[in-house]
Symmetry: C2
Subunit: 354 residues, 2 copies
């Protein structure tokens, strides 16, 4: 286990009320920082009081968005312990993002130990109310203070945390989603399979537009043929059609979600027929018309599983399972959250105690 120096904060913040937490607003007392400099590699991993970054206005991240991030959670177990869910998968995906964005890879063990060490220091910030957790945001930004488009020679790896409330405060309510015909989130050969800032920047307009029309999320189409569905908002998406589960395959423009992978592994473990393949929007609306679109749900770290109750596309509308959560969606949610919070056994070795 790598050890990191800790600079103690002069004063700790009061903990916010876990019942009224808003996602991504209340940050903890400390953060993890580590620098990269060409010729020196990643160095000086350290835990310091949470506080502002001071950056020259010419810093590359402000201009060319050479930046990647991850999202994960620490969960409070019934026995009072704290655990992470498949954290090495996040570290590996962060490095996959780095490779595409021309950012030097993090040593995997250092990155994992950094996350564990920070969560350990912030253990009191992991809430224990049902459905709450400590959200962890590792990210890397290019810090060269000069203009000119090239790979930066210096970077900052930073990990921040914030306690987050239950995603479903009033029970799991299925959402309405909308097939986006105009804006494209990603294309094969681009950065779609990474968690880089540019993917999210490109997605904002369509998301705001959908929200303005009463939809919770956008269902993205592929950028080449504009007919295959890819993701829903910033989640992966799955469908149960005529007894079989289908989900878009990882073509390079789809994020390889860790919740996605976990759902697929669970269902295969349950002996279900699961297919990763190209899926057209037309196929889904046809299945809905034929009464065969039984369930639909998004998967992601924030919601775990988010049932879809209705899909819109041009003038077509499809209501799924009468707008209610389906049995499989519910089973996936119960199983995954059970393993994550430690109320169910973890036969897969997915959880890591801190």
């Amino acid at each position: 286990m790598n050890e990191f120096p800790i600079e103690r904060a002069k004063q700790l913040k009061p903990k916010p009320d876990p019942k009224t937490l808003v996602f991504g607003h209340n940050f903890t007392d400390y953060m993890f920082l580590m620098n990269y400099d060409a010729g020196q590699g990643w160095h000086d991993g350290r835990i310091v009081p949470y506080g502002p970054l001071q950056l020259d206005p010419s810093t590359m991240v402000f201009h060319y968005a050479q930046e990647v991030f991850e999202g994960m959670k620490a969960y409070r177990r019934p026995d009072g312990g704290v655990q992470l869910f498949r954290p090495m998968d996040n570290v590996r995906r962060l490095n996959d993002s780095c490779e595409r964005l021309c950012i030097p890879a993090l040593p995997e063990d250092v990155a994992l130990d950094a996350i564990k060490a920070l969560v350990k220091v912030e253990e009191d910030w992991v809430p224990s109310e049902p459905g709450t957790s400590l959200y962890i945001r590792p990210f890397i930004i290019a810090t060269d203070a000069s203009l000119g488009v090239h790979a930066s020679h210096s970077y900052l790896f930073c990990v921040i945390c914030c306690p987050v409330g239950a995603y479903y405060k009033e029970g799991i309510n299925p959402v309405r989603i909308y097939v986006e015909n105009e804006d494209v989130r990603a294309v094969r050969g681009g950065t779609g399979y990474t968690k880089c800032g540019g993917n999210y920047a490109a997605s904002i307009r369509a998301g705001e537009r959908a929200e303005g029309q009463g939809y919770a999320q956008v269902l993205w189409l592929d950028g080449v043929e504009r007919k295959y569905i890819e993701e829903v908002g910033s989640m992966n998406v799955m469908f149960k059609v005529d007894g079989k589960v289908i989900t878009p395959k990882l073509t390079g423009s789809v994020l390889p979600g860790i919740t996605r992978r976990s759902c697929l592994e669970l269902m295969r473990h349950w002996g279900m027929d699961v297919e990763e393949r190209l899926i057209t929007a037309q196929e889904l609306f046809d299945a809905a018309k034929a009464g065969k679109l039984e369930e639909a749900w998004g998967t992601g770290t924030a919601a775990v599983v988010s049932p879809v109750g209705e899909m819109g596309w041009n003038d077509e509308h499809a209501v799924i399972n009468g707008g209610a959560i389906g049995a499989l969606t519910q089973k996936l949610y119960d199983t995954l959250t059970g393993i994550q919070w430690g109320t169910l056994e973890d036969p897969y070795g997915w959880t890591v105690r801190v």
Copy 2:
């Protein structure tokens, strides 16, 4: 003309030697800042001493790359005056980028006056050696200090400047470029027509790879069919084939360059046959083989015009005009730089005195 308060610097920096300037490294004494807050709009435009930005680590620009920028120059005229080149075109394009990235538009007159006011304050920084200029970088970053993918409610508009040396110190040497088959820079429906950070982040890997193989720039193919050429590095690209000039049309994934537009307008003014259309890489290599690819050049603010002497694509190689700059490329360069630096008359109303 909008007026802005100026906070004076305690000490001014020594000016760097204009003969050894490196692009994008030496910033001037002041910068322009203006804030946006929801409900309040853009407010508090001001000129302040150049210095670091202090931002919470959760600030949106670090995570979701909601950021756009522009690039332009101030030129020292032979009569000692300073002028800008089509600055309103940059302001309008910045707002086009804003629209796609869901950033509130800048009032055009305020943005233009901000740039003029800053250049006025920094007039002594505009170098006068041949080919030198003051590079101006306006940019906008999302400043909400919270996670969650949505349009930020607050932004910072910032303008910084740096004197830059002559792009061609030892005469104009044509460059070698390479057709990129794997990575894609942009796709229709995405953000390719904007100057947002994500486009540049996506382009870095291929650029570094090309450089490692002895090429100066990547020639990008379209993201859909992977056969139409789009841009070269971060420049637009033009070709003279059998007496006719062709350039990729603006399909949504190509940046509408201001130097591109100026070249097209000049050539049409000269009575030349100029076509904006889809161009396959195959067509160019076929033309080269038939001895009809007469000239090729990139266009952009930094280089103005950058002649291409050789193109590589898989195992094919095409040498253009014996690797030397062509007559038309040279004429465009001479005319544009003449107008920009004020050594030629500006019959088009492109220049704006500061």
